[in-house]
Structures are given as C-alpha cells and as structure tokens.
Symmetry: C2
Subunit: 210 residues, 2 copies
DNA sequence: CCAGTTGTGTACTTGAAAGTCAACATAAGG
DNA sequence: CCTTATGTTGACTTTCAAGTACACAACTGG
C-alpha cells in the first residue's frame, strides 16, 4: 500500500519553526515559570522533540531569554514613551500587548518578575513606570513614604487589572482601558485621602434584592 | 588549653530547631519559590547542614507543605470569618498576618499561588474571598462578566496593596488598613461607574517644585 | 562519673533533567 | 535522477540537586 509512511512529518522553514517554538515556550513557561518547566514540556507543547530546541537555541536559559526579549520588544513597541511617563497611553499599550499575547503578559509580570536570575530585564521596565508614577503622585501626596507606596502599587494594579480582565473573559473590550485607568485612579485616591476611615460595602446577604 | 573546642556547636531542643528551620525556609522560599530554591539555600539560611532538614522533615515537598500550612494557619487565625465574607475584618486580618510574617505572606500570594502543585491549598482561601466579593459587587454591578472581573481583582489589589506597603517601609501603620480598604473601594468604583472616560493625572515635569 | 538518647556533620548514592551525537528524511538545485 | 543542505529523531552522556548511611558530639538520667 502507498500509506506505508506513518506520518508525513511536516517541515517548516527555519524562521517559522523558531517562531512556533517561541510561542509554545511562552505558553509552557507561563504555566509554572522557568525552573519548574522542563524542556520536554516545551517540546511537546510545540509538537517537536527536545533536540529541535537546541537546533534553534543554545540552552534553556537562551530560549527563556529569547522568549522574554520577544515579549519585552512587543511591550516596547506598544508603549514606547520617550520620557517614560505613566499615562493613558501606557495603559492602552499594556492592554494591547496583553491582548496580543496573554501568556506572554502573564509570564513577564507573574513569573519573570519574581525570578532573581531574570528579573532585571523587566525590572527596568517596571522601575521606569514606578518612577514616573512617583513623580505624578508626589505632586498630590505630600508624605514621601506614602507616595512611594502608591507609586509602587499603581503599576501593579494596572497589570493585575489587565490580568483579571483576561481571566474574566475580556468583557467589553472597548471600555477596558478606561476601567483600568479608573481602578488606578481609585488607588491613587486612596493615597490622597488624608483622613480616611471608609468601610467596604456591607457583606451582601444571599437574598439581598427580592 | 581549654579553648581547644573550635565551636561549642549550639544545640537546640527539637521543637525550637524545627521552628527555626521553618522560619529560614519561609525566607528562602519567598525569594524564588519552590522549584528554584535548593535545600542547601534553606540549610545555610538556617545555619545548619542539609541533613538536619531531613531529621525534621521527610522531603523537600514535606518541608514546603509545612511552611505553607504554618502560614495558612496564621492566616486562618487572623481572618477567621465563619461565613467567609470580604469585609473590613478581612483586610485587618490579612494585614496582621503580613506584619507577623512578611516573607510568608509574599511566599503564599506571590509564589505558591502560581505553583500548580501547591496552589490548591491557597486557592481555597482565595476562592472564598473572591466568591464573597462577587456577591457584594454583583449587588451594585449588573453586568455579570464585569462583576466577575472586579470580584477577582479586589482581593488581588488588597494583597498587592499590603505587599507594596511592606516594601514601602510600612508607613503610618495605624491607617494602613483604612488605605487598603480605600484602594479596594476605588477598584470596585471603577467597575460601578457606567460611563467612564477618565484620564490619569497629567505627567508631572521633573522640575515641578524647586 | 558513666551510659543511653538524640542532634549534628562529612561523605556517599541516586535519579531526573540538561545537553550531545550520529543517523535518517525531505525538499531544492545541478 | 542524483547530490546537497537542512529539518528531524532515538539513543546516549553529563551534571547537579535530592535523598541516605554512618560516625561523632552533646545533653539527660542513673
């Protein structure tokens, strides 16, 4: 029979294969981070064997760096602010990057940022945003330590808001950016308020509205 | 001479040594998570050798579980709400736990929550809070998906606010809880607002106050 | 003061994951 | 059609961290 060949074994041009591996690696790393992800996990995610990875990347570290660089480049492309401000455009850019590659977004901000070996790559990014946020917040918050707190929290909230938005199924995409900004504003508001003693809404009863 | 003995080699009663190891392990794990932390890192952090760890714990996994359990127990002790609501008391409890053990707090919510192997232990905790938050938010936010977004984000913001507060040097401890609540309220407000198009404060110039 | 119990350290074994090698398969060019 | 360059693979070696065995040291009770 002519069906002797078990699998046609699809072959791809080099650049395309490399891209496929990067995508697969992003997915795999995004699940558990660098250390907990084996090269076999990545290989099976990309539907190739482990050796292929070495044909395109020198080592596991090299591959991870490539994944990170690729995602950082995307971020830079979307949110390229010359003076590095934390403004409306920043949120729009972050959101666009997150839509383009949710796994990459999670990888960067949930895993890579906590891995001492690699954090400095993203730390630069975060530090810039935090510094910019501090300047803006310090203008309205006299207390230095308080301003630092808010400045550190604001970018985190923006990022977590975007991740939560992804998890919630990306509801009303057109207004997402505005809501993220609103959430950040709320956080800044908490720092501005000088004499606050607010309470959260009363714990809702299950039968609260008949 | 009587000073022949190089080091007196201080020995501790079992319970005390175990506690010391747990503290050290919490610190070490909090730096890089489970997979990226070697037993040698923990041992040197505790100023003992790796073998001692096995005298107190069966395996690396067992040790990690013990660390997590210890921290979860602390959380439960501080924020024991029978019906599991996300209220003022919850924030107070979280804050108290974070003060008691910053490293443990970070470990739980920055690392363990992202480790598939162990996340379920904390996931129960987080899911309860998120569910409670959803009930409260759903009462004021008609859109289901939007409410889910806010419900998922609110606890995260509370936690991140506390972590940022730790990083900022724990400014004004007496008002910290109120500010955290305020930040959470701000986030909920972002979900409530039906027609939002707010902007962040204008990017501050570097030479804004001479 | 001596013996038993328990905590501690040095040196070793083991297993899993990273990294390597030589052969096969497939498409393009002479 | 045959050669060649490159994508692909199964099987192998190496390396490092988890886990183990045995010898030593210190406190406790007789």
């Amino acid at each position: 029979m002519s069906a002797d060949r078990p699998e046609p074994v699809r072959r791809l041009p080099r650049a395309q294969r490399r891209e496929q591996i990067l995508v697969a690696a992003t997915e795999a790393f995004a699940r558990s981070g660098y250390a907990a992800t084996g090269l076999d996990d990545i290989a099976s995610e990309a539907c190739v064997t482990r050796v292929i990875l070495y044909r395109h990347f020198d080592s596991k570290t090299d591959l991870y760096q490539a994944v990170l660089d690729r995602m950082c480049a995307r971020l830079d492309a979307h949110v390229d602010e010359p003076v590095g401000g934390f403004s409306d455009a920043s949120v729009d850019g972050l959101l666009a990057a997150a839509i383009e590659s949710p796994a990459g977004f999670r990888l960067l901000f949930q895993h890579a940022l906590r891995e001492p070996e690699f954090k400095e790559r993203i730390e630069k990014f975060r530090a810039d945003i935090t510094a910019a946020a501090f300047l803006q917040i310090a203008a309205v918050v006299p207390d230095k330590a308080l301003a630092r707190w808010a400045a550190q929290l604001a970018p985190v909230v923006a990022i977590e808001a975007i991740i939560a938005w992804l998890d919630a199924g990306q509801p009303e995409p057109s207004r997402a950016a505005a809501r993220v900004r609103q959430a950040v504003m709320g956080v800044i508001g908490a720092a501005v308020a000088s004499e606050v003693d607010c309470s959260l809404p009363a714990p809702a009863r299950t039968e609260d509205h008949p």
